[in-house]
């Protein structure tokens, strides 16, 4: 009897649960449809007003009033929708407008919230609409990783010396904000990063130098040459490989000699990076040494050497054709493959 009563109770609970689930499914759908229907005309008018403000140098007060009167969620939606397609003066105008209608201020308030997801939303909004120089930098050291990462993303658009300094220092512990976000932001900031990054590379080595080398390789700046040369001798193979890639982005006699030396490195990834870099630099005198690398025991080295030779143009192609007769079957095979490759493909692989 007790078990039957228990099942009765269970059935009642299941019934209530199912009714609630049904109410949520259809209630939510109806509410979303109602909200969307109400928002649609407002959004249409808002889009026209926002586009007018972005395009015209004169601000129409009626447009601003209309945008100010919109609910905040619709303001956010409109700005997030339009801002990524805007640049230069138009973007600046919209940023000023976001400030004028109180959206930027609302986002800044969100950045100071105790709730991590509100801070996250605040930074995201500021990344989209601009502003936040007073509140976001401190979020680079926020206790929540997603907020830190988002602040680093925001920083990619705001490369002031103080922010650059903080971002470069974070390279010591890239996991704190996410290695990708950090590298991406530094590359987005571009030239202002160079002095701080060069100083960082002068004083760091090993694993701490890895993300910095990747960023530096994307900038191809001669001020990194000294660090590249030094790090080509780092005890860690991955660092040597990245330094070789950086050397290939910069060039110069000293670095070319260093790269030729790295072709004899005990680590295959380093030899491959050195070969690829020589090809990238178009250093044709290296054709003969690269043709010897076609006999390397490691596939990656043979492959990168052959691609580098193709990149060298006539001297490299000549050596590749000669390699077809090489008694070493592996050298002949890789030469055949790279000569077979459609031009566009070979050019693409050159940069891998």
């Amino acid at each position: 009897m007790d078990s039957i009563r228990l099942l009765d109770v269970a059935l009642v609970v299941i019934g209530i649960g199912s009714a609630t689930a049904l109410a949520l499914i259809f209630g939510h759908a109806a509410r979303a449809a109602w909200r969307e229907a109400r928002a649609r005309p407002l959004l249409e008018r808002g889009r026209v007003a926002l586009a007018a403000v972005g395009v015209s140098p004169r601000v129409n007060d009626a447009d601003v009033a209309l945008l100010r009167a919109l609910p905040q969620r619709l303001q956010v939606r409109l700005f997030v929708e339009l801002m990524p397609s805007m640049a230069g003066t138009q973007r600046q105008r919209l940023a000023v407008l976001a400030h004028d209608i109180g959206l930027a201020r609302a986002a800044e308030r969100m950045c100071q919230s105790r709730k991590w997801w509100k801070r996250l939303r605040g930074v995201r909004l500021l990344t989209a609409v601009g502003g936040g120089t007073d509140v976001v930098p401190q979020l680079l050291l926020d206790r929540h990783p997603a907020v830190r990462a988002e602040a680093a993303e925001w920083a990619g658009e705001h490369g002031s010396p103080a922010i650059v300094k903080t971002l470069v220092l974070l390279l010591e512990t890239p996991d704190a904000v996410g290695s990708w976000v950090l590298r991406d932001s530094l590359l987005r900031i571009g030239t202002p990063v160079i002095p701080a990054l060069a100083a960082y590379l002068e004083t760091h080595s090993g694993a701490q130098a890895e993300p910095a080398l990747e960023v530096a390789a994307g900038m191809a700046e001669p001020r990194f040459a000294a660090a590249a040369e030094r790090l080509c001798g780092d005890p860690q193979p991955r660092v040597r490989a990245l330094a070789a890639a950086l050397a290939g982005a910069i060039g110069g006699d000293a670095l070319v000699r260093r790269l030729e030396g790295l072709l004899g490195d005990p680590d295959a990834a380093v030899r491959a990076a050195a070969a690829a870099s020589l090809g990238r630099l178009g250093h044709w005198p290296a054709a003969s040494i690269l043709s010897r690398m076609l006999r390397d025991p490691a596939w990656i080295v043979r492959s990168q050497s052959a691609l580098a030779m193709r990149r060298l143009g006539s001297p490299g192609l000549l050596m590749l054709r000669r390699a077809l007769e090489d008694p070493d079957r592996f050298a002949a095979d890789i030469a055949r493959q790279v000569l077979d490759m459609p031009e566009t493909t070979a050019e693409r692989d050159q940069y891998r």
Binding site: L11, G17, R121, A128, P145, A149, D340, P342
Partner: protein, 493 residues
Amino acid sequence: MSASEIAAWVLVKLELAILVYFLVVNGWYFILLVSASLEMRRHALLSRGQARWKMLGSRVVPGISMLAPAYNEAATIGESVRALLALYYPNLEVVVVNDGSRDETMAVMIDQFDLAPIHPIFPRRVSSAEVVALYRSRTHPNLVVVDKKNGGKADALNAGLNLATGELVCAIDADTLIEPDALIRMVRPFIDDDKVIAAGGTIRIANASRVESGRIMETRVPRRAIPGFQVVEYLRAFLFGRLGWNRLGGNLIISGAFGLFRRDLMLAAGGYLHETVGEDMELVLRLRRIGYEQGGAHRVDFIPDPVAWTEAPSSLRVLSRQRDRWQRGLADVLWRHRGLFLNPRYGRMGTIVYPYFVFNEMLAPVVEFVGLVGVILGLVLGAINWPFAILFFLTAYGLGALLTLTALVLEEMNFHRYHTFGDRVMLVVWALLENLGYRQLTVLWRLKGMWNYLRGSQQWGKMERKGFTATQKPRPEPGPGADATDAGSKVRA
């Protein structure tokens, strides 16, 4: 004690044991439900307002190689590959593996993508059947095509793995439709955390939806029962099952139709195993196991919003083969990795996730079948009274339906992919009817799968699909061992 009294006593004890099993299983489902809801909320908060477009302009995103095995796909391969090449991702390579097709698949690709043959040498880091030819496209520099002898899906993926150059590898079926921004979403766990070794996304059923040029243009819920039941089954499995495991010890399964892996770890682990029909689950288990044993990364994430669409079997005959194979794959993989069972060395994977898969997934059809037979016998012998049996049946049915309805709530509140009122009604109808007949059929098919596994069957089973659009020709049936067209275990939990 007479024989009938002994039988009645045994039946009562058996039913008690099954009742305990029922309570434990549903307790677990409740925990998974709470976990999935929390995880969904976290995911929604983290992804709301995220500007993913920035990734498209990034120079430091990890490269992704899409591995697409194809077998007798001449009718659709051009459209499928074009859809892959058009995915939003800045550093993408597409490796199509023609797994010994007997139709015009290779000729179509050569013609449509201006393929140039290149000397077929490559590092054979994992084993695969003989590669006959290698091609690169003149018009799409990031397209590589491998023409090899037939060896099955795992073999084709291994051949693709040997050719892939990206840091990450995305294993798909050639007929999977991937949403354009799915890779941008799916790559996020890898760039946020070095400890992630693999990630899976949601698979949804495309039957009845409108497909144009390899893209889903309009999502619809099938009006036919077999695919309709599978729609709610997939929603439950992905939005509630797999998402729930993110917090409780990680997933053991990433769908063979759409999963992202770290290539270096896949190669170090030896790639896909040929000797199992559950190659996707086996790989995930092996990667995680190696991670635990070597003190390395072992996290597997499930991301609910990167969506891939697939065509579900629309006949009972084909569906039964699929479920039979999934059950055999599950049993085989769990047996191969039996050392994990309650082994604290493997953390929560060994002590929680693995035992769950043994008791709640592998043995569930056996227990359900025994329970059903026991109830019938008990009623016949008078050992169980009718009111109890009816109430118990209603409770079991109600719990099953409630679980599916909860998955529909998660879907509606977070994604609302189905827009019309009629579609929502159909979802609810399939959720309510699923436990009346369909579920019992799947129990029988899974039991058959267990039986076939014990007999040592390694057959893949012929799969037939109609194709996504009415204008497409029906696909020919693959031959024995030719398994590249099937999605593998898309959904198990």
